[in-house]
């Protein structure tokens, strides 16, 4: 405001100076012109008076000459004519002088009077005409007229000779005064020109100074403008002004181009700026909000608190043909003018990294919480069990990795991979939840979800597996974390940290077996079996609680399980126990209604048989219904209707060992993924064993697993 005011003043001054220069120059020219005209007239008059001054002498001479000629009787006609001409010229010139107003009238009058006094003597001379001589044979003599003429000439000559000087002086004084006046006028003209030039010079200098000042000011304004431009170019936020029509002004910061991937902002409607970048609902709210900013109720704090664009999720082209999600923060400030809100200044920042960081922090916090949960869970679990689990889980995941690395090209091969993945993951999850290691169980559950999604895809490629591989890495890292924590816990529990008792599982075993270094291999199965029993009891209790059922688990002969079978037997029993808890055992009220004991009974018996070992798993639950199994198989597209109808009861029961079979429709942590009994069957087959199922609907389900002698068993991966 201040700047533009002085700027205006300067402009006025410069214009005033220019007008003054022109006016002064015009005045000087007009006055100078008049003076010059007067001087020119005076010079002409001066010439005339100079000529006039000579006339009295000339008249006197001519009269004298005329007298001389009359004396010598010469021809007088020529001189007489000259005299008449001189007198006529005098009269003419004198008349010119008389007309001038700038001469002293008294001096003119005096000259006039003098000249008038010439007239009585000159007039008779001029009036003479005819021949002054009488020519006879004896010679010439004056004629009578000639004698009169002679007298008149003589008188006139005497008069003229007497008065010539006076008249001359009178005329000379006229000429003198005229000369004085002329030189005075010339002096005035000189002064005028001098003053005029000086004034013009002064004004020109003033104008020049003002012009320079204006130039300086303009330079300053340009500098300021350039600085503004630099700021707008460099600042990381997008800045622009919105006018009352919600349109963007002509000035904006460069960052806006980067933020929105366009540069046609001038005059752009705010709604247009956000269209296609946010949902229609958000857009509508944003537009309403912008309108509110112009209202009188829109106080800055209030508007800030209800700003719907404080953290705006927008989807932008990422320049590679795809879309990416970014978070923008819009801040609005009202710019007030004399008549209310003039503009709204809008600042846009990209807060994507802040938002992501906040999320990471939150995740880290959740991780820390889950670690704490895990720690609490592990405090309740036996370190040996945990380490055994960690061993088998690591082995399982290694197997998963092997599955993933297997080359595959066709869709069928990919699907085979997926099936293998599912089984491994499912058994790891089962063990983890049995040990109450929920952080691991949840992670595996999440992985299973991913695998499940892949299964649902119509066509599979190698790329689809990448997220799974990443998630697996994460899971492995987590397992390492658990292992470290177990080591620390063991150290704590033992009370005497040993240098070696850190990370490796064999050492863990030694520490917790209370017989360091001396633990013999023959004792291990017993110990491991004892742990297995405890673990299974805990799992049964947990499953019962989770599914709102009561379960009594009776275990026998688990001490007999050879070490080579320990892992498989454990996996199989866990899976069957879960199946029993989810599918087999009925809820308490249902059991009461069928006169069964409220608590479901599950028996697990391991014993030697003729050819090796036998594991019998039996629950007194609802049993398996061949019809239900068939229906489920049809629903899962494992069988067609006709195929199902053709199956006898025995074959129908065998359906539960098929991959992908599950009678549960919703997925829970414990069952329903269609991975379960097929894992058990595979594990059994892998050891060269057999599995069979028998059931009595409403009464029981019994699995019998036959295993060969341990020494003949193939090595387990």
């Amino acid at each position: 405001m201040q700047l533009s005011g002085t700027d205006r003043n300067r402009r006025f001054l410069a214009a005033g100076a220019a007008v003054a220069v022109v006016t002064v120059m015009a005045l000087v020219l007009i006055v100078g012109f008049r003076l010059a005209t007067r001087i020119r007239a005076s010079v002409a008059a001066l010439q005339t008076t100079s000529v006039l001054q000579t006339y009295p002498a000339v008249i006197s001479q001519q009269l004298a000459a005329l007298r001389g000629q009359l004396d010598t009787l010469e021809y007088t006609g020529r001189v007489h004519g000259e005299l008449a001409a001189t007198i006529a010229n005098f009269n003419k010139d004198f008349a010119t002088i008389e007309r001038r107003h700038d001469l002293d009238p008294a001096a003119i009058q005096r000259a006039q009077t003098l000249w008038q006094s010439y007239q009585p003597v000159l007039a008779p001379v001029l009036a003479f005409s005819g021949e002054p001589y009488d020519d006879t044979d004896t010679g010439s003599s004056l004629s009578p007229g000639g004698r009169v003429y002679y007298d008149q000439v003589r008188r006139a000559a005497i008069f003229a000779a007497e008065n010539a000087t006076v008249l001359h002086q009178q005329l000379a004084s006229l000429s003198g005064s005229l000369q004085k006046r002329t030189s005075a006028a010339a002096a005035r003209l000189r002064t005028l020109l001098f003053v005029g030039v000086l004034t013009v010079l002064a004004l020109a200098m003033a104008a020049l100074y003002l012009q320079l000042a204006r130039g300086r000011h303009e330079r300053a304004a340009r500098d300021a403008q350039e600085q503004t431009r630099d700021i707008l170019k460099t600042v990381r936020e997008g800045f622009f002004l919105l006018d009352a029509d919600y349109r963007i002004g002509s000035v904006w910061s460069e960052a806006l181009t980067r933020l929105f991937g366009r540069s046609d902002f001038a005059g752009l409607d705010f709604e247009e700026l956000l269209r296609d970048k946010v949902s229609p609902e958000t857009l509508a709210t944003a537009v309403k909000y912008i309108k509110l900013l112009w209202g009188e109720r829109a106080r800055e704090n209030l508007m800030k608190s209800i700003n719907p664009l404080g953290q705006l999720e927008v989807s932008m082209d990422n320049g590679r043909g795809g879309k990416e999600t970014r978070y923008l923060q819009f801040d609005f400030h009202r710019v007030m003018g004399p008549k209310g809100v003039k503009h709204v200044l809008c600042a846009v920042g990209d807060i994507t990294s802040n938002v992501l960081l906040a999320r990471e922090l939150q995740e880290a916090q959740e991780n820390a919480h889950s670690q704490l949960d895990m720690m609490v869970g592990m405090l309740h679990a036996d370190p040996l069990q945990v380490s055994t689990f960690l061993d088998s889980a690591s082995a399982g995941l290694k197997h998963v990795n092997t599955i993933l690395k297997e080359p595959a090209r066709t869709d069928a091969e990919f699907r085979k991979k997926l099936a293998g993945l599912s089984r491994e993951l499912h058994s790891i999850k089962g063990e983890a939840s049995a040990l109450n290691l929920m952080s691991i169980a949840q992670r595996v559950h999440h992985l299973e979800d991913m695998v499940g999604e892949l299964k649902g895809k119509s066509e599979l490629t190698g790329n689809d597996f990448l997220p799974v591989v990443l998630k697996l890495d994460e899971l492995l890292a987590h397992l390492r974390g658990v292992r470290e924590m177990t080591a620390r816990l063991v150290t704590l529990k033992d009370g005497s940290p040993e240098p070696g008792a850190t990370l490796s599982v064999p050492q863990l075993r030694i520490v917790s077996a209370e017989q360091p270094a001396a633990a013999s291999s023959t004792e291990r199965p017993t110990r491991a079996a004892g742990d297995l029993g405890t673990m299974l009891q805990q799992l049964a209790a947990k499953l019962a609680q989770d599914h709102g059922k009561r379960i009594t688990l009776t275990l026998s002969g688990l001490g007999e399980v050879p070490e080579a079978y320990l892992s498989t037997v454990k996996d199989c029993v866990i899976q069957m126990l879960r199946n029993a808890a989810v599918h087999g055992i009925e809820p308490s009220d249902a059991r009461r209604a069928t006169a069964k004991p409220e608590a479901g009974e599950v028996r697990v018996d391991f014993h030697r048989s003729e050819k090796g070992y036998e594991l019998v798993f039996q629950d007194d639950g609802a049993g398996l219904s061949p019809e239900t199994l068939k229906q489920a198989a049809v629903r899962k597209n494992i069988l067609t209707g006709e195929e199902a109808a053709a199956l006898d009861n025995r074959a129908a029961l065998a359906l539960i060992f098929r991959p992908g079979f599950s009678t549960r429709d919703e997925v829970s942590m414990d069952a329903g993924r269609g991975v379960g009994m097929d894992v058990v069957a595979r594990a059994v087959y892998a050891l060269g064993g057999k599995i069979g199922v028998s059931t009595n609907p409403g009464r029981f389900t019994r699995f019998k697993i036959a295993l060969p002698e341990a020494s003949q068993a193939p090595a387990v991966a």
Partner: protein, 131 residues
Amino acid sequence: MSTDSHPDGGRRQVRLLIVDDSNIVRRRIERSQRLGEIEVVGTASNGIEALELARRTDPDLVTMDLTMPQMDGIECISRLIELKPSMRILVISALADKATAVQAMEQGANGFLHKPFTDRQLNDAIAELIF
């Protein structure tokens, strides 16, 4: 309607109507206004009740919940403004959704306070509206 109709000659007290479906919140606001220039002229637990009370008690200021049974806050705000355009309305809501806040402002609300709030925040918000 005008202040000079009051017999005490001075400025009349600001008349406050509290609208919230939670009894606890209503009491909380009421308690915070025991002292000072504000007179609580009524409390309502839904929009219809609020309109009814507003007709009878002619409040200058209303604290308004948004999610209420029968008539929600947004509709109630526009009805109250119809009734008395000079009425000041402070929305007090737990809704984090900015779109609702914008909508409330559009209907004529003058201020917005998030639940939960402290007495200080409440008094500041009210002060901003009436002084």
